[in-house]
């Protein structure tokens, strides 16, 4: 055997899983197809500017030593000190619908006050919803896969309030059209409203670099430019990995963060079409000389919808500009303010429509769609087009290229596997399709799956101390 474990993908979940495995004294290698780590949450530099992909905010924010919180647990398991992340909280974020606006901060009382101000008749119902969310216990058997719309609709009666609460939750993690599983709603509601939003100083690269440092210190290996072409099953167990260059590696257990559909396809299995995720986005990143606050834009994150009901589904055309998310990284507190102003705008997009464009059409469509989306939101916020000095745009095709997700699906498959079981012995799923969400969720997924499928069972059999 070449390694006790091989991890496919150097994203947040894969790196976290590998750190745990290496820390327990087992041999592990992370295989990453690209030459940069991070997966969906990555970074790059263009014309001397540092850009982040994926991460708008680190949800699940809690102060250091907050008992029982996912962030506390995951940092502990990875032995990273809270202060190493240098998290800056948002001043406030907002949910903007026609005629109504709710703001929220990392103090939940603020949001409760907002609900009481805008929807006074829903005060008690909202308190009941919060209570349901606080007391809900996650179950691994997936029985709790009810529709969040159905559950929330039973508790709240004002349709606008329901839409306004669903909007951030859908955009920050739903792989289902127009809805989200109730269990996922609970996880996301806690992570956004009950805990909170923050941004690491320097953006996503701070987290990725910390993880890589921890992995190296624990003795784990990381190979770039090593895509997996096929997973071979021997004696009923997934144990051989065939790389793009033909090399074959044997592993005790394979942890795959490639996604459920993608991992099963590597092993030669097909999944039913309804289990393949399709929700994907177009994102533009516009750099400006001045900070958004100088134009009166103070929100760190703005979830918006220009209609009364949100259409969170694959658009018929290239993009749908009627709803989306604006992220203004300058509006997170930081000891090191960003050098330039930055406005990111994310809207729903259709992978197939982008995929079939010719090269020229594609380049043109990127420019036009980004402009069109900003023009649409300019009326509600401000028009940052005249102030933009540089812009980069990601399409579903970009996401597909960097994550390997079929159709550029950002939140993976609507079918999650909370136990990490793939249906093939020896092949464990971690990351988006295991079911925890956000950056903290992704790391938690890697940690929990490594503990459950490898470290805890190994603990029972290992007896000798590490020789080193």
């Amino acid at each position: 055997m070449d390694y006790d474990a091989i991890v496919i993908g150097a994203g947040m979940s894969g790196l976290a899983a590998a750190i745990r495995i290496a820390m327990s004294g087992l041999s592990v290698c992370v295989l990453e197809r690209h030459n940069v780590p991070g997966g969906l949450n990555s970074y790059y530099t263009q014309e001397g500017r540092a850009f982040d992909v994926g991460l708008h905010a680190l949800t699940n924010f809690v102060p250091a030593r907050t008992l029982g919180a996912p962030l506390t647990k995951v940092l502990r398991q990875l032995r990273i000190r809270h202060e190493e992340l240098r998290l800056g909280e948002h001043e406030f974020s907002e949910i903007v619908f026609p005629g109504e606006r709710l703001t929220f901060t990392n103090e939940f009382e603020h949001f409760e006050g907002e609900i009481e101000r805008v929807f006074p008749h829903q005060r008690d119902a909202f308190a009941a919803l919060v209570n349901r969310v606080r007391t809900f216990e996650l179950r691994e058997d997936g029985v709790e896969d009810q529709s969040a719309r159905a559950v929330v609709g039973e508790i709240l009666s004002d349709p606008l309030l329901i839409e306004m609460i669903l909007c951030p939750i859908l955009y920050y993690g739903s792989a289902r059209e127009d809805d989200v599983a109730w269990s996922q709603f609970v996880v996301l509601f806690r992570s956004i409203f009950l805990e909170g939003l923050s941004r690491p100083e320097g953006g996503v690269r701070r987290i990725v670099n910390l993880l890589i440092k921890r992995l190296k210190a624990a003795g784990g290996e990381l190979r770039y430019g090593s895509g997996v072409r096929r997973i071979r099953i021997e004696n009923g167990r997934a144990q051989l990995l065939e790389l793009d260059d033909g090399e074959v590696l044997r592993s005790g257990t394979i942890f795959s963060s490639a996604g459920r559909t993608e991992s099963l396809r590597l092993a030669g299995r097909e999944v039913p079409p309804e289990e393949i995720g399709r929700l994907t986005f177009l994102e533009s990143i516009s750099m400006m000389k001045d900070a958004p606050a100088s134009f009166g834009h103070g929100a760190a994150t703005s979830f918006f919808c220009t209609e009364e009901r949100i259409a969170y589904r694959i658009p018929q055309r290239l993009i749908d500009v009627r709803s989306g998310v604006i992220s203004a990284p300058n509006n997170f507190r930081s000891k090191k303010p960003l050098k330039e102003g930055c406005m990111r705008l994310t809207v729903l997009a259709n992978y197939e429509a982008w995929h079939k464009l010719s090269k020229e059409e594609y380049v043109q469509a990127k420019i036009e769609c980004a402009e069109q989306a900003i023009a649409k939101v300019a009326a509600c916020f401000f028009d940052w087009r005249p102030h933009t000095v540089y812009r980069d745009v990601f399409t579903p095709c970009t996401i597909r290229r960097f994550t390997g997700h079929v159709g550029g699906a950002v939140y993976g498959s609507p079918k999650k596997s909370l136990t990490g079981e793939s249906g093939i012995p020896g092949l464990v799923l971690c990351g988006t399709d295991q079911g925890y969400l956000g950056i903290v969720g992704a790391m938690f997924s890697g940690v929990a799956m490594a503990n459950r499928h490898l470290i805890a069972p190994h603990q029972k059999t290992a007896t000798s101390p590490r020789s080193a």
Binding site: S24, T72, R76, R79, R81, A448, Q459, S464
Partner: protein, 91 residues
């Protein structure tokens, strides 16, 4: 190791697995779970460190013996009496 050193050894391991906590403040008799919210994943880590550092094995059914620092000493001292103390936290 004497009993005092066992306390130092265990606190050192807790500092390693929970770097944000101030272990010098830990009470000897109160449950660790109640003081700093150690959960089953954290106990797995403590046991892993005991194995790596001192070569001793704590079976899963004995995790409950590690509930407080005092009970850790009672349970671990016989296993550690022949071992040398070495600390790693913040190294």
């Amino acid at each position: 190791m004497n009993e005092e050193e066992v306390v130092i050894a265990v606190k050192d391991i807790i500092q390693t697995v929970a770097p944000d906590e101030n272990v010098s403040m830990l009470d000897l008799s109160e449950r660790l779970r109640d003081q700093i919210d150690l959960d089953s994943m954290d106990f797995l880590d403590i046991v892993m460190e005991l194995r790596k550092l001192y070569g001793i094995q704590v079976p899963e059914e004995d995790y409950k013996e590690l509930a407080s620092l005092n009970s850790c000493v009672a349970y671990l001292h016989p296993k550690l009496v022949q071992k040398e103390l070495h600390c790693t936290a913040n190294a």
